[in-house]
């Protein structure tokens, strides 16, 4: 009575049936939505069941049910979810910037979001940017990086969408600069966490952890003792501390485990695992990656919370306006004055992010099935780099 599993018979219409009615056509579409691997057989099972049903109404009900089953397949939802999310973000930006009267500024803000979304889409595909490496640390750094870059983009749009003065300057200079800087951060976060990245899980955990720890440690006194300091020296100190701490921890960990270039199975908080294949750089190279990663994370995180405090919490805006500035303009003037040193922090972090991306791309591991073109017998650039770092 039964055929062995895996032996899939010919389709329901193999015997040559009558032309499909509405239910048959609907079910045909439902079957096409099912992923070919492992699920298409279920589509043929549904079609065979439909062939047994006589009543037209019952056939329609059954086909509709099958369509629902196809549409709610997790793989389809994931596949459709990401593009929907991206389209939703673009649509949201278009609506949100509806009150921007200066068209080039509005186009620039929409372009900022579109470019960041395009990068995140590229980061899901095999290549320099992706997909994300196996490991909790890589996922956390990538998701955290996306959140920080996304928050920066939202804060930028929020501050510029109601702007009324210097609009051409903002559209022609401000938005392109912030777009470039946020692209640098995004590229750094996706390259360092990509599958071919030389950064091991341990290094990512150390770098991300030190960056967040330093930024949060500095946030506490800022929250307790408002307003924000006028100078951003404290933020520079925090970024430097984060980088140095990450480098030192990375070196000490690699000394303890013997060789940072080998798979680290004794990682930080259990996040290092067998996927930690940081085999392209020596301990010094891994420390440099940890340093840059920590400093980049700290710089962006500090910028984000400072910008939140400046935009939404007037109590934290330092009073730097001259006495002759009228009270009505005072807050805006103070805000503009306070933002500049912290924007410099963002730019500095962008340069660190660019350096991190350069190091990661230079030391990238070749991906399986994508051999890198090499001269016969010549060491690859990453090997040379690793050699220099390891042997001075």
């Amino acid at each position: 009575m039964t055929r062995a599993e895996g032996e899939v018979p010919a389709g329901p219409r193999a015997g040559g049936g009558a032309p499909a009615d509405l239910a048959g056509r609907l079910l045909g579409w439902a079957v096409r939505l099912l992923p070919p691997a492992g699920r298409r057989e279920w589509g043929r099972a549904m079609q065979a069941e439909l062939a047994q049903i006589e009543s037209a109404a019952e056939r329609r009900r059954f086909a509709l049910g099958c369509m629902r089953a196809s549409l709610t397949q997790p793989r389809l939802l994931v596949a459709a979810g990401y593009p929907s999310l991206m389209l939703g973000a673009i649509a949201g930006t278009v609506v949100w910037t509806g009150r921007v009267t200066y068209a080039p500024l509005r186009a620039g803000l929409i372009g900022l979001v579109a470019i960041l979304l395009a990068l995140s889409w590229l980061a899901r595909r095999p290549g320099v940017f992706g997909p994300v490496a196996e490991g909790l640390a890589a996922r956390l750094v990538r998701v955290g990086g996306y959140l920080l870059v996304g928050a920066s983009a939202v804060l930028t749009i929020h501050s510029l969408r109601l702007a009324t003065n210097s609009l051409p300057e903002k559209a022609g200079t401000g938005v392109p600069i912030i777009t470039t800087v946020l692209v640098l951060y995004t590229v750094a976060f996706v390259t360092v966490t990509a599958r071919g990245s030389a950064a091991g899980m341990r290094v990512l955990a150390i770098g991300g952890g030190c960056g967040v720890a330093a930024a949060v440690a500095c946030l506490v006194p800022v929250l307790v003792f408002p307003p924000l300091p006028v100078s951003s020296a404290w933020a520079i100190a925090a970024i430097a501390t984060a980088g140095c701490a990450a480098a030192l921890i990375s070196v000490s960990r690699s000394n303890r485990s013997g060789d940072a270039g080998r798979p680290a199975l004794t990682g930080v908080a259990g996040v290092a695992g067998k996927s930690d294949l940081a085999g392209r750089t020596g301990p010094v190279g891994q420390s440099l990656i940890a340093l840059l990663c920590a400093a980049t994370v700290a710089a962006l995180l500090i910028f984000v919370y400072v910008d939140v405090l400046l935009q939404f919490f007037p109590h934290w805006v330092p009073d730097t306006s001259p006495v002759n500035v009228p009270a009505a303009n005072r807050l805006d003037n103070n805000r503009r004055g306070a933002e500049d040193p912290y924007f410099a922090i963002l730019l500095m972090g962008g340069l660190l992010a660019a350096t991190l991306s350069t190091v990661i791309i230079a030391t990238r591991r070749p991906q399986p099935g994508r051999p890198e073109p090499l001269q016969p017998g010549a060491p690859s650039p990453p090997d040379l780099l690793a050699h220099e770092w390891t042997h001075g």
Binding site: T2, G11, G15, A45, E49, Q52, I53, G65, C66
Partner: protein, 118 residues
């Protein structure tokens, strides 16, 4: 850890476990348990993925009709169905009727004690 199945999955499991040796058709199974295809097929797919359900194609389909998919529980599926089988609803009146009234330990006596405690 195995996640507790949904109520609908339990109903499907119970229907299949009623006669575990028999191969069942999807459409009839859906009618028996009162589930539409949109709910039934995802359940069957999940059960197959977890190797609680085996499936096969009919070999003796009537001419002009495509062979149908058949389903039955695996040994693991039968065990899982037994573990997740719904407990019959507790009916205190029925319990009282069933229990012989003898001595203070009987449910009726306990009920009386409870009533007096109110």
């Amino acid at each position: 850890m195995v996640r507790r199945p949904s109520r609908q999955t339990v109903v499907v499991l119970s229907a299949l476990a009623a006669d575990p040796a028999t191969w069942r058709y999807g459409y009839e199974l859906g009618q028996e348990v009162g589930l539409k295809a949109g709910s039934l097929y995802p359940i069957l797919m999940r059960l197959c993925d977890r190797q609680l359900l085996e499936h096969a194609w009919e070999t003796d389909a009537p001419p002009g009709r495509p062979p149908r998919h058949l389903y039955r529980l695996t040994a693991a599926g039968v065990r899982f169905a037994a573990e997740t089988a719904p407990v019959p609803p507790h009916d205190p009146v029925k319990d009282l009727m069933k229990s012989p009234v003898k001595g203070p330990a009987s449910p009726l006596a306990q009920a009386g004690e409870l009533r007096s405690a109110w």
